[in-house]
């Protein structure tokens, strides 16, 4: 870890755990410190961009200079049911059977 990064901790181990939880990832305690370091390195690197003068420049919503790509409203057949349900861990009444989820 560089000295700059160490002085500029933007993300704590708790944040890493929170982000892992939001992403439904299990991060072992042994790796938490390593990830925290790496997150901070990345964010500190992004700091360099903060020094660029962007006054008068439109925020970039998309990297390509393209807009208005549309599709006509015409129905095409989707996938076959068997094909769709082949990805289901279990099937119930043609639906993907999932455990009870309470938000």
């Amino acid at each position: 870890m560089t000295a700059t990064a160490a002085n500029n901790l933007k993300v704590s181990q708790d944040d890493v755990e929170h982000i892992a939880q939001l992403s439904r990832l299990t991060v072992p305690a042994s790796e938490r410190e390593k990830f925290t370091e790496q997150f901070n390195q990345i964010l500190n690197y992004a700091d360099i961009l903060e020094h660029i003068d962007t006054a008068g420049i439109q925020p970039t919503a998309h990297v390509l200079p393209v807009s208005n790509v549309f599709r006509e409203d015409i129905v095409k057949p989707g996938s076959a049911l068997e094909e769709v349900l082949a990805n289901a861990p279990a099937v119930h009444n043609d639906g993907f059977k999932v455990p009870r989820v309470i938000e």
């Binding site: 919503a61 990297v63 790509v69 549309f70 015409i74 129905v75 989707g78």
Partner: protein
């Protein structure tokens, strides 16, 4: 006791009436076998790429203009990230900081008072799939089955300002909004099928307070009645908490229609960290004046303008005209019937009276009403021309409900013509006078009511067919 002011804002989701989903060519048909309108895009298969349905922008723009919004010419989509089984991709494609429009309004009228309700914004997004629980409710279910047919169906979310102060205002706003979405033909507005859904943000504050109270967001409001009941319940619940010295918790609650209560959904705080970011798989949309003005020029007559027209052209009372235009199908029926009716007010009275009563009792809409508008007009004309008394007209109407036919033909078939022949009625009048000397004496002694009894006797004798106006006239002439 402290008096409180209720503050309500509504978030309405309207499924757009496109043939295909927002970002893939799957059908949006309702009620199909589960998972038969899905493809790699709407099930979030790796590598599948979304392409925007142009009709989604058309419909959203139409709704935006009809709701008096300011259009944002630059539009992009964003990803709203969360994990729930109804969302195969792990994110919903929505619009976060740059919605298609902002700053609109709807004018509502509650008990004769006009009020403007602000619309904060409207944004485009996709619907999620449907979870069918194995038990009666989610908490009593062991598992759920997911159907992705609705996943990816385009929606607009219409967010109001917290401008409403009562359940009645919320209802009026919702009814006006529904009417506008129907008139512009962007949504079929079937609340029972979920194509129009409503969440309500409700808070209360003491009279004179400068800041709004803490709000609860109520979900699962699937009818106007549920909206009104949920608001009334929630206001009382919050009042009780404040009166007991407690404080309202900001949370999401669900409306339980069977028990008439709102229930906390106890969501974890971090469940609402959506980490929005621009959708990299979709390019921005650039609207220009030509596009916006073309859509504006194609807007149909909206409910407000239509109401004004009915008042002006047909002399309908404002309230009646408002009732008729609140449903586009009803307004269309009125216009069709009024075209051949000699008495447009008569048509309005039938629609708001007997026809509405019948529709309510059958729990159907006017679009499923079997009596042709031309036949209702004919019925109204038969009354106007003095062929049918209003009593006999109701009888004919009853027959029409059984089988739609020409009322003229029905009148002949059933022998229901009103008798307007003076000679025939005069005979009945003389008969009644002779048979009821007491009533005659009472009338002559100044008891005006006595004449009603005599008229009743004559109508009875004629089995309702005598022209009541003529009966009155002849009676009075003879009793002078």
């Amino acid at each position: 006791m402290t008096r409180y002011i209720t503050v309500i804002g509504l978030e309405v989701h309207a499924e757009l009436k496109t043939k295909t989903k927002a970002f893939c060519s799957c059908s949006t048909a309702f009620g199909s076998r589960p998972n038969t309108h899905v493809c790699p895009v709407c099930t979030g298969m790796p590598g599948a790429l979304p392409v925007l349905n142009k009709q989604v922008v058309e419909f959203a723009l139409r709704a935006a203009l009809a709701l008096n919004c300011r259009i944002n010419k630059f539009n992009k989509f964003d990803r709203k990230n969360y994990f729930y089984p109804d969302l195969a991709k792990g994110y919903q494609i929505s619009q976060f900081d740059q919605p298609i429009c902002e700053h609109g309004y709807i004018d509502i009228n509650v008990e004769g008072e006009e009020k403007r309700i602000g619309i904060t914004r409207i944004h485009m997004e996709e619907d999620a799939g449907k979870l069918v629980h194995s038990g009666a409710t989610i908490s009593t279910s062991d598992f759920s089955a997911v159907d992705y047919n609705r996943a990816g169906v385009p929606l607009i979310e219409i967010v109001s300002e917290p401008d409403m102060r009562s359940a009645e205002e919320a209802r009026a706003y919702m009814e006006s909004l529904k009417a506008i979405l129907e008139y512009t033909d962007v949504c079929d507005c079937k609340m029972q099928e979920g194509s129009l859904r409503c969440d309500a943000n409700i808070s209360i504050m003491p009279v004179g307070a400068k800041e709004f109270g803490t709000r609860a967001e109520i979900k699962n409001l699937n009818s106007f009645r549920a909206l009104v009941r949920a608001i009334e319940y929630e206001v009382e619940r919050q009042k009780e908490i404040l009166e007991d010295g407690g404080h309202v918790v900001q949370e999401t609650r669900t409306w339980d229609d069977v028990n008439g209560v709102t229930l906390s959904m106890r969501s974890k705080e971090e469940a609402h960290d959506y980490r929005y970011f621009p959708e990299p798989d979709l390019v921005p949309i650039q609207l220009d004046d030509a596009w916006i003005e073309r859509v504006r020029s194609e807007l149909p007559e909206l409910p407000g303008a239509r109401q004004a027209r009915l008042v002006k052209s047909f002399g309908l009372p404002e309230y009646d005209a408002g009732q008729i235009v609140s449903s586009k199908a009803m307004a269309d029926y009125f216009d069709a019937a009024a075209a051949t009716a000699k008495d447009a007010k008569g048509v309005a009275n039938w629609l708001l009276g007997d026809v509405s009563a019948f529709l309510n009792s059958e729990n159907i809409g006017i679009e499923d009403f079997k009596v042709a508008p031309a036949h209702l007009a004919e019925l109204v004309n038969l009354i106007k021309d003095g062929v049918l008394s209003s009593k006999l007209a109701k009888k004919v109407f009853g027959e029409l409900l059984k089988e739609d036919a020409s009322p003229k033909a029905l009148v002949e078939k059933l022998g229901l013509q009103q008798v307007s022949d003076e000679g025939a009625i005069a005979a009945l009048v003389d008969e009644a006078i002779a048979a009821n000397p007491q009533s005659v004496a009472d009338y002559k002694a100044g008891k005006d009511k006595a004449i009603g009894f005599l008229v009743g006797q004559i109508m009875k004798k004629s089995r309702g067919k005598a022209n009541p106006g003529l009966v009155q006239k002849l009676l009075k002439e003879r009793l002078q």
